[in-house]
């Protein structure tokens, strides 16, 4: 009779167990993918912003999948073009939700699309996160399934106003904005604050999109003799407006959002026209590891104002899913969103960082490429510092930071 030593017995049972259990283990490895949808404007009025946002999301997902996915499950992305149209956006969202069975829709841009798609997502318990600015996006009852990484208009208006008031030489300000769902709201917030500080609003003009020239709008604005023009538009129309303002001989200052006056703007309007234009936006954490990783992963990223936000949106969604221990749904994302994005917690600058910390049982606080990404109860970004830049010799340079 051979007597096996205990070790041999243990070993052989282990081997037997392994052999018998192997199929089960192998089955577990071939895990179901997690489906996520992007709904960006690839054509239509927002067409110059969508492609970069989509690429940003793809870059995040590539990294996540290469490192093994979320709890071993790969992310499967589905892309749709909303054509910057609410109706087309709804059809696209229906396909993403019902056919592709996504658990989240990320990187929406146009307020009209986000607003139209919101009820579908809430009903289907699919998480929706984008950059749309209209107040209604986070208002009303969305049961926590909506968030956005763009500061809301009241916050923006107040920060711009704070900066303008701090510059004592600007006593007469004209408000010139593109027709968007938030132009009025921003204008009112901004004007209200600067007026109470003694600054005169000389004109308030909202212009239509896609016009070949804005000469007459410019003529009207300049006739009111402003020291500063607060130009609130997107890059394509801002380029035309800035050129018309320059050609009309305006010698005063222009303040615009940085998402409009970016590298593409400077290229399109020319360094000469762009010289001296003030621009501000929520301060991306340029020195943060998140921003560095983002700009390395997404080429020409300095020209895409919404790409950092899209990067963060995807990263946060992935982290929330990771915190959910393997089950994937919009509800899981909703339940864990603030837990992974808000303080307190160990700072995490990427999905890889955060996933590792989560696996160790730690509480994390994602700090992203577009900013701190801390959400309030209705899904808006908590107040954040704004970076003020000025275009000098063809490049935007940081001048100061305005704190809330």
């Amino acid at each position: 009779m051979t007597t096996m030593t205990r070790r041999q017995l243990l070993k052989s049972s282990a081997v037997t167990g392994l052999v018998l259990g192997a199929p089960a283990i192998l089955l577990a490895q071939a895990k179901e993918p997690i489906n996520i949808g992007t709904l960006c404007p690839l054509t239509g009025a927002g067409g110059s912003y969508g492609p970069d946002m989509q690429r940003s999301v793809v870059a995040v997902v590539d990294r996540i999948n290469k490192a093994g996915g979320i709890h071993g499950r790969p992310i499967h992305l589905f892309h749709e073009d909303d054509q910057t149209s609410a109706e087309a956006g709804v059809r696209a969202a229906r396909k993403l939700i019902d056919v592709n069975k996504v658990v989240a829709i990320v990187a929406t841009w146009a307020s009209a699309v986000t607003l139209a798609v919101r009820p579908l997502c809430v009903e289907a318990q699919v998480f929706l996160i984008g950059v749309s600015g209209a107040d209604a996006v986070t208002q009303g009852d969305h049961k926590g399934y909506v968030a956005r990484t763009q500061p809301n208009t009241k916050l923006q208006g107040s920060m711009y106003a704070k900066f303008v008031v701090s510059k004592k030489e600007w006593k007469r300000v004209a408000y010139l904005a593109l027709q968007t769902p938030y132009a009025r709201s921003f204008g009112d917030a901004f004007s209200g604050i600067v007026k109470s500080a003694g600054v005169t609003i000389t004109d308030d003009l909202i212009y239509e999109d896609k016009k070949p020239s804005y000469r007459s709008e410019v003529t009207r604005i300049l006739a009111t003799n402003p020291d500063l023009i607060m130009l609130e538009g997107y890059t394509p129309d801002s380029v035309v407006m800035a050129k018309d303002i320059y050609k009309a001989g305006f010698k005063g200052a222009i303040l615009a959002p940085s998402f409009a006056v970016n590298a593409k703007f400077i290229e399109g309007a020319s360094a000469e026209v762009a010289e001296g234009i003030w621009n501000m936006d929520r301060a991306p954490l340029f020195d943060s590891p998140a921003y560095k990783e983002f700009s390395a992963a997404v080429p020409r990223s300095d020209t895409s104002p919404y790409a950092p936000q899209a990067w963060d949106q995807m990263s946060i969604v992935a982290l929330a899913l990771a915190a959910g221990k393997g089950e994937a749904s919009g509800t899981v994302i909703k339940d864990h969103l603030r837990a992974v994005a808000n303080p307190p917690g160990t700072a995490a600058y990427s999905f890889a960082d955060g996933a590792k910390l989560l696996a160790e049982g730690k509480k994390i606080n994602y700090e992203g490429a577009s900013g701190a990404c801390d959400f309030d109860a209705i899904g808006d970004i908590l107040s954040a510092p704004f970076a003020v830049q000025q275009v000098r010799k063809g490049k935007s340079e940081l001048v100061t930071v305005i704190n809330p």
């Binding site: 690839l42 054509t43 009025a45 067409g47 110059s48 969508g50 492609p51 027709q179 003009l205 909202i206 212009y207 239509e208 896609k210 016009k211 070949p212 020239s213 000469r215 007459s216 709008e217 003529t219 009207r220 006739a223 890059t235 394509p236 380029v239 035309v240 050129k243 320059y246 050609k247 009309a248 001989g249 593409k264 290229e267 399109g268 309007a269 020319s270 000469e272 026209v273």
Partner: protein, 286 residues
């Protein structure tokens, strides 16, 4: 309140730009008997053709503009050969719809190749000079000048050359013209090429004045359409006058109503003119 003269001047320049595609649209409508909605995308094609030559091959803008005229004319010819020639005898509506399909395709070909980002020509931007109290920009003068020259050439062509006369004859009565031996195919080819070239040239102006992106032409189609109807289909001088009126009214309108209602004023004025002269300013409808 600035002198209204500034608005009128601005309007004249806008009108000058609109006049080129309006003339093309109007004449082609008369000749081929259908409104060719692809004309506005010819604008886009011309702008990008000049971009390739100017920003890509570093040609000066004037040369690039001439190149754009030729390139857009060629594209228009190709479009006619592929899409419209098989339908010469069809109802106008079929052709109009087909032209819309063509517009879709052209806009998206441009988008496919260059993406949605807007571009600009490699030219210096200059501040406007002040002339007699008006702000007059260098580009504005160039545009006006070129538009006037093109208009004059078109008129001379239609009035003085054999082919031009033949074109008007064909427009008035294609059957009779064919019977009398006017080479209709050649006439159509020349008109198509010319119309395409005019629109392409205008596209360069728009690109110069504003910026270049795939949607640039499409946004003007309503104004072009209105200018052509106002002037009377088939009349080049009419289309020019129509375009100038549309341009001036849109610009001057900002004095009276919020700028967002610009297009609205345009339509009201057009209706008013049509009330007085139902066939449009100069055209005759057959």
């Amino acid at each position: 309140m600035p002198p209204i003269a500034q608005y009128v001047f601005n309007g004249i320049v806008t009108g000058g730009i609109l006049a080129l595609p309006a003339v093309a649209f109007s004449l082609l409508w008369r000749l081929l008997r259908f409104p060719n909605f692809a004309v506005s995308t010819y604008l886009t094609v011309g702008a990008y053709a000049a971009l390739v030559l100017n920003a890509g091959a570093h040609a000066p803008l004037e040369l690039a503009w001439l190149g754009a005229l030729a390139a857009t004319g060629a594209v228009a010819l190709a479009v006619d050969r592929i899409a419209f020639r098989p339908m010469r005898d069809r109802r106008p509506f079929s052709l109009a719809i087909a032209s819309i399909g063509v517009a879709f395709v052209l806009e998206n070909v441009v988008r496919f190749v260059w993406g949605n980002d807007f571009r600009a020509y490699d030219v210096p931007v200059s501040r406007a000079a002040s002339v007699a109290g008006l702000r007059v920009g260098r580009e504005q003068l160039l545009i006006l000048g070129a538009a006037v020259v093109l208009m004059a050439l078109s008129q001379a062509f239609l009035r003085r050359t054999r082919l031009g006369v033949a074109m008007r004859a064909t427009a008035d009565n294609p059957l009779l013209a064919a019977v009398k031996g006017v080479p209709t195919d050649r006439v159509i080819a020349v008109a198509t090429f010319g119309g395409g070239a005019l629109a392409g040239g205008a596209g360069v102006f728009v690109g110069l004045d504003a910026s270049i992106d795939p949607l640039m032409g499409g946004g003007l189609i309503i104004s072009v359409f209105a200018a052509a109807i106002l002037g009377g289909i088939g009349s080049a001088p009419g289309a020019l006058a129509g375009a100038l009126i549309v341009g001036i009214v849109e610009e001057a309108g900002t004095l009276v109503v919020p700028p967002t209602y610009k297009t609205a004023i345009g339509f009201v004025i057009i209706l008013a003119v049509l009330l007085v002269r139902p066939t449009g300013l100069a055209g005759s409808r057959s």
